[in-house]
């Protein structure tokens, strides 16, 4: 079946290339914004600088870049829309041969929702909470007089079916808060498709979803746009995702084009260094280490925990971690992996079970742990922004554990802080700055230094790289590995990102809905035979291969046929 769609699609493509002009033709697009801090002069900043591309009918162009690369802004320009103070300051955007930037308000309204539709990252916020999903899905088709209400409703039901939504004929009766995040994202795609547009702008449609949900939504989107021959601009920060769905890819950085070519070329033979680094982003790999045969540093025995005493968040978990090694706890939202960290730190006393540190049980409650026990177990957070007091300087932030645990003061303390700053590759010049003056990656480095200052045996890393752009995240992981080698510190790594797990773990624990599904050495956990959940989880992680999605889907179909 996927073979036959491929053929029709190729046929379409050849037809379309003959018939000029292109559907969308963006020439020398410039977008700027006026930013004003109270009490300061307005700054004009350039968000997008001289971007040009063409999109043929029925084709998909992937726009990829890190946060701040200007990709969403470019996507919205195809609808002549500037979000939050952004202003299109130069260039042309031709849609079906007409320059839509020169249109007046009324003509632009004839484009939006009719010729070009939009799918937002957070469907939960983008749907109006006051109206039924069905009414919102058919709204633009009705408003622009494209269909009658009966036709539109029938078509919407078809789309719901096509996108794999449950009970397609009743789905439209529901309100946004009554369905799940993955379903909302599909409903938003249905909403975009409902007025049969020529082009859909997908703005990170799967970024907010869990990886096992992402693959379904991604497959649904791919299926739907192919079936309807709709062209798309697919915006994402994840190159592996965009490789599955697009015909061409444009790589963006700081509002400028880095590289623009076919998906095949970008993935298999990237020309620019930046693109190469994106393609090979997970190069870091911790060498395999022997598991030492002594008392584990951390041992968790039959832990059960709950926030309210009723709903069990963790049930009967047992794990262990040796000194100088890394244990990754991997799972999706609701798996209980962060709760695990809270139990180990003493923030959430367990209901049952023991936490042993170097063979001695740790008191369940934080209050009852002594200073030495606290010192040896440090924590690094996901959001470095809020993990540091914004009113304290870097000196105060890193200096406090030195003072608190080791009684260092004055010049001695400052010397040690500088030493730590050098260790995390930042250096002395940062010592008197405030967190707000640092970039995301630099902030996370400061948090690492603060943890290291306590000379801990174990650092709990709670999603420490998830808020960072991939290249920055990679640097942080390298730093963590280097520090581990240097100081023999153990990491308890909480993450949802399989690639990170592969890169840094010695042992891996897979969690699902509060239970431990799989636990063991990295090589053992990541190789078959798998249990059902681990199989689903591992196979759902996008890989940097052109036909990864199709392969996975067909193998899953075969499996379910076989069962």
């Amino acid at each position: 079946m996927s073979h036959s769609t491929q053929v029709t699609r190729d046929l379409n493509r050849t037809e379309n290339t003959k018939a000029a002009p292109p559907l969308l033709d963006v020439r020398n697009l410039r977008i700027g914004a006026n930013i004003s801090f109270p009490g300061e002069k307005n700054h004009h900043i350039v968000i997008v600088d001289k971007i040009s591309f063409q999109l043929q009918k029925g084709h998909v162009l992937g726009l990829i870049g890190e946060s701040g690369a200007g990709k969403s802004t470019i996507g919205l320009s195809a609808m002549a829309y500037g979000r939050g103070g952004c202003e299109i300051t130069g260039g042309e955007v031709f849609l079906n041969g007409e320059d839509i930037l020169s249109f007046n308000h009324k003509s632009i309204r004839q484009i939006r929702g009719v010729k070009v539709a939009y799918v937002a990252q957070s469907a939960a916020a983008a749907f109006n909470p006051a109206h039924r999903l069905g009414d919102q899905v058919i709204e633009s088709a009705l408003e622009h007089g494209l269909m009658s209400r009966t036709e539109a409703t029938a078509f919407a039901d078809q789309l719901f079916d096509k996108l794999g939504l449950p009970e397609p004929d009743k789905f439209g009766q529901r309100y946004p808060h009554q369905v799940s995040g993955g379903q909302l994202q599909r409903a938003m795609t249905a909403m975009a498709l409902c007025s049969k547009p020529d082009l859909i702008v997908f703005d990170e449609p799967t970024t907010a979803l869990d990886v096992t949900t992402q693959i379904d939504v991604l497959a649904a989107i791919k299926h739907a746009i192919r079936e309807t021959h709709t062209a798309a601009l697919y915006i994402t920060h994840d190159l592996a995702v965009v490789a599955q769905i697009s015909d061409e890819i444009m790589v963006l950085k700081n509002g400028k084009t880095v590289e623009y070519g076919t998906t095949e070329q970008i993935i298999n033979s990237p020309q620019e260094q930046y693109t190469q680094s994106l393609v090979t982003v997970r190069s870091t790999q911790k060498p395999v280490t022997e598991s030492p045969d002594k008392t584990p540093l951390l041992r968790v025995e039959n832990i059960s925990a709950s926030y309210d005493g009723v709903n069990q968040i963790l049930s009967d978990i047992s794990l262990q971690l040796h000194a100088g090694q890394t244990l990754s706890i991997v799972g999706e939202s609701g798996s209980g992996k962060s709760t695990m960290a809270r139990v180990v730190t003493g923030l959430l006393p367990q209901q049952q079970g023991k936490v042993l540190f170097n063979g001695t049980p740790l008191p369940a409650e934080l209050k009852r742990r002594d200073k030495e026990q606290l010192r040896r177990l440090q924590m690094i957070y996901q959001m470095a922004d809020v993990a540091m007091n914004p009113r304290q300087t870097i000196d105060q932030i890193i200096g406090r554990p030195l003072e608190f645990y080791f009684g260092l003061r004055g010049a001695e303390k400052r010397r040690k802080v500088i030493e730590l700053l050098e260790l995390i590759e930042l250096g002395e010049k940062y010592i008197d700055r405030y967190p707000a003056e640092l970039s995301g990656g630099q902030k996370q480095r400061i948090c690492i230094a603060r943890a290291l200052a306590a000379k801990p045996d174990l650092i709990i890393c709670d999603e420490v790289t998830s808020a960072l752009d991939p290249l920055v995240a990679e640097e942080i992981l390298k730093l963590l590995l280097r520090l581990q080698e240097q100081y023999q510190v153990a990491y308890l790594f909480i993450t949802h990102d399989i690639a990170t797990v592969r890169a840094i773990s010695d042992t891996i624990a897979v969690m699902y809905q509060g239970e431990l599904v799989r636990f063991g050495e990295r090589s053992q956990v990541l190789s078959p035979p798998y249990d059902d959940y681990t199989d689903l989880l591992l196979s759902s992680v996008p890989e940097m291969e052109l036909d990864w999605l199709d392969k996975v889907l067909s193998s899953r179909r075969m499996q379910s046929a076989g069962h």
Binding site: G39, L366, L374, N389, P390, R400, F404, Y434, A454
Partner: protein, 298 residues
Amino acid sequence: MLVRVANGAWAGLFGLMSNALEKRSIMLVHLSWGARLGLLGLIVFAGSAIFAPWVAPYGPDEVVGDVWEPISAQFWLGTDQIGRDLLTRLIYGARNTFFVAGAATLLSFFMGSFLGFLAAVRGGIIDQSLSRLNDLMMAIPTLIFALVVLSVLPVNMLTLILVMGVLDSTRVFRLSRAVAVDIAVLDFVEAARLRGEKTLWIIFREILPNALTPLFAEFGLRFAFAVLFLSTLSFLGLGIQPPEADWGSMVKENKDGIVFGIPAALIPAGAIAILTISINLVVDSILSRTTSLKGGRG
């Protein structure tokens, strides 16, 4: 000359406070023209209240002219219902207004923010009982509550300060508790807990520095409100009692002139308006330039 000294003192004080709060983001040079105007108003009023005996042209109870004389070179703002100089009365009245409103605001702040922080940090039953009691107090309009209580208590400055302070502390409680609760859930507070820091260290070193800006702004708003509230009570005859006078009671004394077209009552009323507008201008500027948790610049 005196005004300039006062000016300097206030600017210095304000500079110090804001420096402590924002390190370098609020400085006088950065203030909008509205805020500067407001600050100037505050300085003039506070300065003339402090230096009343030197600034005022006559004695406060001295009958110097006819009843309700119009504005003239001799009486810059005219005279009142028994022939006292209005400007002089205004300057001395400012002392009562500032003192009672200021003392009540300070009281409400110490009570409200202490209990608010306590509720936020201790949580549990302490938080529950304090918060419910506070909800109860806030369910009665402040003016009505004050009137009910003043029907049985002797009306004097101490009673006024206590009643206004206690009633107003409910608002401060709610704000400081909310601010502290918001900060207490942030990771850096959790990090401090995990480090093993004591409750007092967490309150004073982690939470308080981040709560100062909203609390400082609230202090301004509460003071403006206290000025209005005291003036209202005095206007109703239940505030500052004669022979003492504040701006509100001056409105009451002179209100009978209005129907004859004599604007004497409007002068103290206008003074109250200018004072509260000045405070609001300054506060507005502080609130618009800082969001509570950005730190550093911005």
